[in-house]
Symmetry: C2
Subunit: 458 residues, 2 copies
């Protein structure tokens, strides 16, 4: 087995990533809010020795619920329920830095990390959309402001995770000392966006820091990833684009004193799997035949910023030049795709229906393994964010047929080698920035948590 190992994340989305998945006979849309569905998916991922499962999120009902299975579960509560039925697979939840407070986010991820024995990961998003802003009564912040807030948010959250040193809990029952208050530190953060005293009221997470994941592909997003993220999910349609993104992102790490191996690049791939090419194409066609054009048209109109009607379906995508709110890199990808392949709007909708701009690949397990290997060995990917078109069937197909092929080729683990998400991703456990100084240089009392603060009335 080569020293560099492929990493695979299962991106779980309702009953599948294809927008018409809920209409396909292989799915049961009533399972959208059924925890047993997601527990089954997590167990399948673990059976396949996948690194992690991942839940996207937004803070508004987005998309036309008339024509898609929307309105599912909240990621952090759901992942805690998945932690209870799995032992190894990582658990990555999306949480916004724009509509949250860092104390809550630090605490919930610390808690999930304890609950899962060190398997929590945080996909950091800054929430571009107008709909989310309207659920929190604020004006949608500008792009740069969102990233400035996100950077300060990360400093606070990681500071809170470090507020308890690893060995703060002493547990001396006879001596009556539960914790060494000299190893629990206030944060005393006072910045433009947040004032947070700390310490956290949960001890340091098993991973030190839950894994930091990011998905923005704008310039600000890539710089943010280079500074903070340990894994990046990205949408890439071609090998050349993926290589360029990979090289760009890895090249930015040195600015922040980091090495190329400190961050994994994981492009999305939606594998439509058949035992023959023909069977794969048939499944793909079945799903395409279930598309409701009005649904995709509305999504596409919003993304490109012009109102597209059914009249536009069999014509090329009109010229779109104005910037729209958020998601610029996804917008650029979609326009480039339409132009490069000279697609009509209908054809473009078909290409987006499977993965919202992520790469869709229909074929046999061997063919899908070939593509994974090609990208992995040619500077385009450290692994993949696997987005099955239908769930659970598409994930079962991947685990039962593609994973064994990758194992045979020596690209993927046959057994888990550790217990934490960081172990799965071969990433180190961060030291605390408040690691204990040598005796004689101990912080003075003003820097420690001593006397009682308040009685908890309950």
């Amino acid at each position: 087995m080569p020293t560099r190992t492929l990493h695979l994340n299962a991106f779980l989305m309702g009953v599948g990533h294809h927008e018409a998945a809920w209409r396909h006979p292989r799915t049961e849309p009533a399972r959208l809010t059924d925890v047993r569905h997601y527990q089954q998916l997590a167990r399948i991922a673990e059976r396949g020795r996948l690194d992690s499962v991942f839940l996207a999120d937004s803070l508004a009902l987005q998309g036309d619920v008339r024509h898609n299975a929307l309105g599912g579960l909240e990621p952090l509560t759901l992942l805690a329920a998945l932690a209870a039925v799995t032992d190894h697979v990582g658990l990555i939840a999306t949480v916004s830095t724009t509509y949250n407070e860092p104390f809550h986010v630090a605490r919930k991820f610390a808690s999930l990390d304890h609950i899962s024995g060190g398997r929590a990961g945080w996909n950091i998003v800054t929430s571009a959309g107008e709909a989310e802003a309207r659920n929190f009564g604020i004006e949608r912040p500008a792009h740069a402001d969102r990233y400035a807030r996100a950077a300060e948010f990360l400093d606070v959250v990681t500071g809170l995770w470090d507020s308890w040193e690893d060995d703060a809990v002493v547990g001396d029952r006879l001596g009556g000392v539960y914790a060494d208050a000299g190893r629990i530190h206030p944060l005393d953060h006072d910045g433009p966006h947040f004032r947070v005293r700390g310490p956290l009221n949960t001890s340091r997470p098993p991973q030190g820091h839950p894994l930091l994941v990011q998905a923005g592909s704008s310039e600000d997003g890539k710089d943010f990833a280079a500074r903070y993220a340990e894994a990046v999910f990205t949408a890439q349609q071609t090998l050349a684009d993926a290589q360029a993104f990979y090289t760009d992102l890895k090249g930015r790490l040195a600015r922040y004193g980091r090495h190329p191996g400190d961050l994994l690049v994981l492009p999305g791939i939606s594998p439509v799997i058949g035992s023959t090419e023909r069977e794969a194409r048939r499944l793909e066609q079945e799903l395409q035949d279930l598309i409701i054009p009005a649904y995709g048209l509305a999504q596409l109109s919003h993304l490109v910023g012009i109102e597209l009607t059914e009249d536009a379906l069999d014509r090329p995508l009109p010229d779109v030049s104005a910037e729209t709110e958020g998601a610029q890199s996804r917008r650029r990808l979609v326009i480039d795709l339409a132009r490069r392949e000279n697609l009509t709007v209908r054809q473009l909708l078909g290409r987006l229906a499977g993965g919202r701009g992520h790469r869709v690949l229909a074929g046999t397990p061997e063919r899908i393994a070939d593509e994974i290997q090609l990208w992995f060995e040619n500077g385009a990917a450290d692994g993949f964010n696997v987005m099955p078109p239908v769930l659970p069937g598409g994930l079962e197909d991947f685990v039962d047929h593609v994973v064994p092929e990758l194992q045979i080729r020596g690209l993927f683990r046959r057994e888990y080698e550790g217990r934490t998400l960081r172990d799965n991703y071969d990433l180190p456990r961060p030291a605390s920035r408040r690691a204990r100084p040598p005796a004689g240089e101990r912080p003075d009392a003003a820097d420690t948590v001593g006397s009682a603060d308040a009685v908890v009335a309950s």
Copy 2:
């Protein structure tokens, strides 16, 4: 079995409610952040057919961590992990209305309610303490402001839970209609504290509304409970005080068009159980002998608002007249207790160590059942909030010895009769305030959720 049934909630707190529990040989303080500990407790509660388990919370490290096992898990993530290993027991989490946004709270409880099959409850707190305010960078709001915000917060949260009608999801795969957009409504709330557009992005919870629980005993707190709460946790030391509280609270319900049976009053009780009175007293004494006076002194000083030192231990509680921040009703209870029983500060600390002002009752299972029956049958309680001094042992003792005694007396269920927390508490499922109007009076398009709002880039 009488038509009026006793209700029992297991209040789970670390390794026990006694402040010295972590030092006692029957506990393992390292389990404070171990999910298996809490899963074991939830299973024990379910084995005893208890109505629910409950987790308190605060948003700061409160109390002196040198001398108590503090720094545990966040309630919502933890309860989701308990949902995964239980089938009937209710799951009640404390969440503050002062340091949260209603959209998040509505969504997380809706999610927990789906995950648990209708077993979620929300203990609503307004967070009186200074330490919590400092973790969120704001000034501590005044008492009345906290309750005004809480009331608006509740209106928004319940409105969001009602934003999807129960039958909004149609799931017509052939026709391509997932949901009837005419049955999903924006909230368009615009009030002094919140502007929230809605709808929620999670469908209506199985219980309609997760159960609403409250614990404040101030005048504002009691009015809030009478308006919104369906169960109230309260600290009461004497039968007379408990009867007065019960009568007062039930009497307030009519002002809000509610009936006495719409709200359950559940005083706290910390049962120290022995097979003989002597064995119970011995366990109580073992715990008292492990008390570290400095811990309780700091807690008590904070509560009453004067600095008490070890010199004060063997004297009566000094005169304390000034008001302090928050927790006024608990402060009054503690001062009354010291005066009524003419206690020294050391004796008072001993009385508070077991339940922070809640009633501690040491005795045989029969004696504890007697007291429960006495309060239940004499207008003081609809049930109890059971606070075992050590965990899991104290909960096992209660379930294995007190519960059977209550069952023999016909006071408590032998089997669960329903599936939801509302079923356990014999409380009705609320209708949606947006229940579907008859055909012909359907809301117009402006009041429904139609076209796509945004593409989710992920």
